[in-house]
Subunit: 222 residues, 2 copies
């Protein structure tokens, strides 16, 4: 019975997610669903990505949070439109929330929407938002064993950002083991070591994303 | 309708949580529900707490995870009984899962049960497990702004462990602001700066916990 209810909620979500996906495709907008633990550096990664790509693309941000609007304010301070969604307790965004946020944006003027999902390695992986790609950020201080414990979120992601890479020497993080487990879960998914705050490694991630944005503009979005 | 279903699930959970609480009180067992983000150092904190208190108390551990049993194995390697719960995708433990795990333990022989909840700053705060106290671990790399974003988990906690305190110089963590926000959410809740891996600061946390365990043994558990 509980499973039935969950499946019905997911079915309703998925239907609206497909409608979102069609809307984004019509406008050639690439939509990134960025997922991570609390404190892994989602907002910093968004700001670093904006800095790397703002001269080439028109960017908007949708910020998901349980409460507060500090992240949207941080993004707006850089002159980028940002819509804040407060989930009011829910541990993930849903496609209907994204739809309401998108309706406040002018999709004809936008190439890239970055969605910052709620800080959580569990719930967001189950919910299709209609995004073009889900990407997970894991930060070095969280430890290399996280893919063992949260396999699903690594399986649904099309890229893995390994953030706070500049702190590798401070923590007991086995990068080889991390990469092996990620590969066992998700084949050839690219891993981008990066420090969003120092900027090291951001260029490689930004180029991967740019190629995907270009494909979406050319009507070739997956 | 969705809210009704959630409330019913919570009501069933709370009823069994009260039964757990009575069972623990009968045996004078103190039960700690340890909550944190993935990678904040829950297992390391448990191992440090065991090292500090194992000469004075008989301890058992219940490990909650989405998948894998690596944490229970780490605890057992220290000669401490550990029961692994896999939630099969759920982002938090529930009182029924704890009950099944507890039934494999000899409560008459145990003073302290430490429950490691699923790594998550959202879901675990809503679910009463019948514990004596909930405690949150925040780690320095996660950032001082987390209480703004996840207020509920700080409000339901009876102590706050600030872990990986030895990395304070590496991160832009404003401890004063962190303490002010925590205080605004939860009055006089104690904050314990600690490094579970170096052992610094563990003694103060362990003494706070020991006082609570003694009170539970004397039949004075809250």
């Amino acid at each position: 019975m509980k499973v039935d209810i969950e499946q019905r909620i997911l079915a309703v979500n998925d239907e609206l997610a497909e409608a979102n996906r069609r809307l984004f495709a019509e406008h050639g907008v690439f939509v990134l669903d960025l997922m991570a633990s609390p404190g892994a550096g989602k907002t910093s990664t968004i700001l670093a990505t904006i800095a790397a790509l703002r001269d080439r693309y028109s960017i908007a941000v949708i910020e998901g949070d349980i409460a507060s609007k500090v992240d949207a304010e941080k993004v707006r301070a850089h002159g980028i439109p940002a819509v804040q969604i407060n989930t009011g307790g829910a541990c993930h965004l849903e496609s209907a929330m994204v739809r309401r946020a998108v309706e406040t944006l002018d999709l004809g003027e936008i190439d890239l929407i970055i969605i910052e999902n709620v800080g959580n390695l569990v719930c967001p992986s189950d919910f299709d938002l209609g995004e073009s790609a889900k990407v997970i950020i894991l930060s070095v201080p969280e430890g290399h064993d996280k893919p063992y414990k949260y396999p699903n979120i690594f399986q649904v992601s099309e890229a893995v950002i390994l953030n706070k890479y500049d702190t590798l020497s401070v923590f007991d993080f086995d990068e080889t083991e991390f990469r092996e487990v990620v590969r066992s879960l998700n084949g050839q998914v690219p891993v981008f070591p990066m420090s969003a705050t120092t900027g090291d490694g951001v260029a490689a991630w930004a180029e991967w994303l740019a190629a995907r944005i270009d494909a979406a503009r050319d009507g070739d979005a997956s």
